[in-house]
């Protein structure tokens, strides 16, 4: 009985803890930013996906280094670092005045603790990025040396991602609910299903962020997200996922818009494990059969860039490869005939996400024109898509946005879902990682060109970074190429 009355009492105060969200715009020191994917919890060490680092990295958690919007590795908790001539050891000098939000100071011991914890405790795929580390030595409270088992250019870059986040031994007890980092913000409240509230961390070592309070609000529906800004409910749309609505913001004097790039390659992936897609002629035919300009113009309102391989413009080894396997429907038909595949029917199993659903319809229409039948099967994302396409490889083609920085390396992983197996690419990737930065650029260029020529996948377009915001918000990032939505660069307009 007591339980029942408690239950009733809880109901009557109805959703008291669920989502208080609307009061943000009245506070001049607060800003409300709308996102589409909500974090399931705050623990990116054990929960996969992009939503958690998007909210927490650089804002609540910091690493030794960070990635700026031009793709450069910049100091963060490390003031500087020295790489040994054999490129096997990295000596970092740390900031002396940084501390965690629970009061513990940040020292070299935390670096050792955090890096080793990735190898021992983390439960997500990215933990393998730390495999190359063989030893972490604390030289002094602000000096730490990391030794690698082989030279790796990727390692320092990877330290800008979530695996590089610094933790405190007394702050990891309840990571899913209570994140403790050194960043400029601290999680103040969370309303499942609607919002997260960040408050400025008074102990922060760096400059005070422009906004004292940040409300991160989540809208599963892209139109609802747009409408929230149009009706003055929020201040920023972090990523406009309905690109045809951009003119609504551009033609309204209340808003600023930016259009840059992300490192999200929207890929039409081929299942290279089985016939007929293990035949390079078929893959080339499919690639040449799709007019990617038409696809970008219709599916994504022409916003975004065409890419010919798995490299965004911000990577140092970018070259324009859109000419490789360019649109040529006549040649595509010829290639299919050569391969003896005139009556091809393929299953296009896609996540039920806006960009995939729209792109798939264009892919189908285009491939029908070269005589290839396509059946589109939208799968619930993430659960079903991850299970049947990504894990069980039950697909012919799929469409997914690959958002991890420098994910071109996945083509060296023969177990990855696209089942691409090229000894040449694997060798070049290893050479690039081991070699000098110049050698890396040369090797990676060749990797990109090989993938394009092999039609290892069909790169539909590079996802644009579309931000719409109230005029009062300044410092909006042009490009979005790190895993984080970096709140520290936001300014108040005119200041």
């Amino acid at each position: 009985m007591k339980r029942i009355s408690l239950f009733l009492a809880a109901l009557l105060v109805a959703g008291c803890s669920a989502g208080s969200t609307a009061s943000a715009p009245r506070d001049p020191n607060a800003i409300t930013i709308g996102f589409s994917a909500e974090p399931a919890n705050f623990d990116f060490t054990r929960t996969d996906g992009t939503a958690i680092p998007q909210a927490l990295l650089y804002n609540v958690y910091e690493g030794l280094v960070k990635l700026d919007e031009n793709g450069q590795v910049k100091p963060l908790l490390a003031e500087s670092w020295r790489v040994s001539p054999d490129r096997l050891s990295y000596e970092f000098s740390l900031r002396a005045n940084a501390s965690f939000s629970n009061g513990s100071p940040f020292t070299a011991d935390n670096v050792k603790f955090s890096i080793e914890r990735v190898k021992t405790t983390w439960g997500i795929s990215q933990k393998s990025k730390m495999d190359v580390v063989s030893r972490v030595e604390v030289l002094a409270p602000t000096k730490v040396r990391v030794t690698l088992s082989r030279p790796s250019n990727n390692w320092l870059f990877d330290m800008t991602t979530r695996v590089g986040a610094m933790f405190s031994p007394d702050g990891v007890a309840d990571l899913p609910n209570n994140p403790v980092g050194t960043g400029p913000y601290d999680v103040a409240a969370r309303n499942r299903g609607s919002s997260i509230t960040l408050k400025a961390n008074p102990r922060y070592w760096g400059p005070k962020p422009a906004y004292e309070t940040v409300y991160l609000r989540y809208f599963k529906d892209s139109t609802a997200l747009n409408n929230a800004l149009l009706s003055n409910g929020i201040d920023v749309v972090s990523a406009v996922a309905a690109p045809d609505s951009m003119p609504q913001f551009e033609n309204d004097t209340r808003f600023n818009v930016t259009q840059g790039i992300t490192n999200g390659e929207v890929v039409l992936s081929f299942n290279g494990r089985k016939a007929p897609l293990n035949d390079v002629r078929v893959r080339r035919a499919l690639t040449q059969g799709i007019d990617r300009r038409v696809l970008l113009d219709t599916a994504w309102a022409g916003r975004g860039e065409l890419i010919g391989s798995m490299v965004p413009r911000t990577d140092p080894w970018y070259t324009d490869l859109t000419g490789v396997n360019a649109y040529n429907p006549e040649n595509a038909k010829k290639l299919l005939a050569e391969a003896g595949q005139q009556n091809l029917n393929l299953r296009l199993r896609i996540p039920n996400l806006p960009y995939a659903v729209t792109s798939a319809q264009v892919v189908k229409s285009e491939l029908n024109k070269i005589g290839v039948g396509v059946s589109i099967e939208p799968l619930d994302f993430p659960a079903v898509w991850l299970k049947s396409v990504f894990t069980e490889h039950d697909f012919d083609m799929s469409i997914i946005q690959h958002v991890e920085p420098r994910d071109i390396t996945t083509f060296g992983n023969t177990k990855y879902y696209w089942g691409y197996d090229s000894p040449k690419v694997r060798r070049l990737l290893a050479e690039g990682d081991r070699g000098s930065p110049e050698q890396q650029v040369t090797a990676m260029r060749e990797v990109a060109a090989t993938l394009a020529d092999d039609a290892a996948a069909c790169w539909l377009f590079l996802f644009p970074n579309l931000i719409a915001a109230k005029k009062k918000v300044g410092g909006l990032p042009l490009n979005q190429i790190s895993e984080a939505f970096d709140l520290t660069i936001l300014r108040r307009a005119g200041s």
Partner: protein, 277 residues
């Protein structure tokens, strides 16, 4: 008992028939001819306004809206036929059985029936979509199952009425089997009620498909469906309201048509009205 034919013409009936006829003719015509291929993407014709070439204009893929509406009518009818078919074919015999079976058994059947009623159509369709994969057929079978109870109830109460008439009592005393009575006397006499319920359920199925497609649990792209057209129109609503208007009006016509048809038929067939007015 004879079916009471109350009034030879009711405006609901004729308007309903007209609207439903429009949907049916459109759907049938789409098999023979559409002005354009409704799934063909054509960047050059993107977001064209209404004109002579494209009656309702084109969508963001450059696909002809009118052709999509035409083929969408097929989807709508398919949806209704499957859902109502499942519901009527299970529900009607079940209701008749419950009326003719021993009292305890009939009671039990109706209790189970009530239990199914507690699973709302949309909820069932979402769960079915999750279990068996989201597409039109799964959704409609779910909607159909959720509509079984209303058919069973109607059929049972109709059958109970028929069972107490003198000629059925006579037939029973003459030793006719229950099955024979059900087929010869009960089913023909409740047919009107079942048809009325079918029309109403059809409207509900059309609305449900629209809602499910809107949520992404319904018709798969690129098969034209009015519900999905609505969903796709959302981001352009402020700029191109016609993209939402066209499928919205189409849905309203179909639902209105089937509801009016149901009302009109009820006026003709429902014996209760005969007593009442």
């Amino acid at each position: 008992m004879t079916l009471a034919v109350r009034r030879s013409s009711s405006p609901s009936l004729w308007v309903g028939l007209g609207l439903v006829g429009l949907v049916v003719v459109t759907a049938l015509a789409s098999f023979l001819w559409t002005p354009h291929d409704p799934t063909l993407v054509d960047a050059a014709q993107r977001l064209r306004g209404p004109g002579t070439d494209y009656v309702f204009g084109t969508d963001k893929f450059g696909r002809d809206l009118f052709s999509q509406v035409m083929v969408g009518a097929r989807t709508t009818l398919f949806v209704g036929v499957v859902a109502v078919g499942v519901a009527a074919l299970i529900g009607t015999p079940l209701g008749v059985f419950a009326a003719m079976a021993p009292k305890w058994l009939g009671e039990f059947v109706m209790r189970v029936n009530d239990l199914v009623l507690a699973f709302p159509a949309l909820l069932l369709a979402i769960v079915f979509g999750a279990v068996f994969g989201a597409d039109t057929l799964t959704a409609m079978i779910a909607i159909g199952i959720a509509s079984v109870p209303s058919f069973a109830r109607i059929a049972r109460s109709g059958a109970l009425g028929v069972m107490s008439t003198e000629y059925v009592l006579a037939a029973r005393s003459a030793g006719r089997s229950r099955t024979a009575i059900a087929v010869r006397h009960v089913l023909p006499n409740i047919a009107g009620l079942v048809i009325v319920q079918s029309s109403v359920s059809f409207a509900i199925a059309v609305l449900s498909e629209a809602a499910l497609s809107f949520l992404g649990f319904g018709t798969r792209p690129p098969t034209p469906s009015w519900g999905r057209m609505l969903q796709e129109s959302q981001e352009l609503l402020a700029v191109e309201p016609r993209l939402a208007l066209v499928p919205g009006v189409a849905i309203a016509i179909a639902v209105l048509g089937f509801n009016l048809l149901g009302d009109g038929l009820r006026d003709r067939y429902d014996p209760r009205l005969e007593v009442r007015r």
